[in-house]
């Protein structure tokens, strides 16, 4: 199943034996997109409509509607593509990024984009990009989080008392450097965690697990643009879901 595409490559999809994912009838639009992404084996993100000069101006003064209105209009269509690309990246989905000749990718996600020329060669280019995404080598990373994953699972296991957990824990301890075995044991283990609906993901980059030690951190997201700097010293009030802690985030 292929997540998101655009009409001109429908012939290519037939060639590689895939079909589009379809929306479900009884869900919200956001959940619909999430479920379609989850069930897809490969994702295509089309950034060919991105116009950075218009949609993401470097020089801008907040409140300047002459710039703001066309910028938002130009970016609104492509915004969801970037947002859902973030989903796919987190889930570790194989993906293809499409851009037009002369464009550059709006962010670095360590993927060579498929550059469309606007002619008959595009279909072949998309087929090649799909094959690389599905059967090519994964991103090369020198980091491994195998031991971190093992320790994280053991830490979670130490809080569980169900007798069914014990054989899984022993398996995790004895697995050695076998990432596939650890993944399968970890997925079995998820069924015994108190909260339900856990999701095991294989992100493309070596990550870090949240720790229970020290203060909790806030991940701050904003545009790295000069026009955001005047607002950079504003403190943001952030209350954690438990209501026990209030954060003042100094922006710099």
């Amino acid at each position: 199943m292929i997540f998101r595409c655009f009409e001109s490559c429908s012939g290519s999809l037939f060639c590689v034996g895939h079909e589009y994912s379809h929306p479900k009838s009884n869900t919200t639009s956001l959940e619909n997109r999430w479920q379609q992404l989850r069930e897809s084996g490969v994702c295509i993100f089309d950034f060919s409509a991105f116009q950075p000069q218009l949609a993401d101006p470097i020089h801008f003064v907040a409140g300047d509607e002459v710039v703001e209105t066309p910028a938002l209009r130009a970016a609104s269509g492509i915004a969801t593509v970037a947002f859902e690309c973030g989903w796919a990246l987190s889930l570790g989905k194989p993906m293809v990024v499409l851009i037009r000749s002369g464009q550059s990718v709006p962010f670095d996600i360590d993927i060579h984009p498929c550059i469309l020329q606007g002619d008959a060669t595009d279909a072949d280019a998309i087929i090649a990009a799909l094959q690389i995404a599905m059967y090519g080598k994964p991103r090369i990373s020198e980091e491994t989080i195998l031991e971190s994953s093992r320790n994280y699972l053991m830490q979670k296991a130490s809080r569980l008392t169900a007798p069914e957990v014990q054989p899984i824990v022993e398996g995790i301890q004895q697995t050695g450097p076998d990432a596939t075995m650890l993944k399968h044991l970890g997925m079995r283990f998820l069924d015994y965690l108190p909260a339900k609906n856990h999701l095991a993901i294989q992100p493309p980059f070596a990550s870090m697990y949240p720790t229970d030690d020290g203060p909790e951190k806030v991940f701050h997201v904003t545009a790295f643009r000069p026009w955001m700097w005047p607002q950079s010293n504003i403190s943001a009030l952030f209350v954690n879901p438990a209501g026990s802690c209030i954060w003042w985030v100094m922006k710099n």
Partner: protein, 54 residues
Amino acid sequence: MAAIWKDLSSAFCDCRYYLLNLNALLELGMAMALGKPTRSFININIFNSIFHLC
């Protein structure tokens, strides 16, 4: 991107948008897919076009 990925071990995600910067939207999507509690502060003029991200 690899460095940003490590920052996503944070407990919460705080987002600020005035215009629709694609890099920031990508990071918001990553954080939401990881189930991070997210709070977004956005330009009200954005709301109608991408309200479901908020």
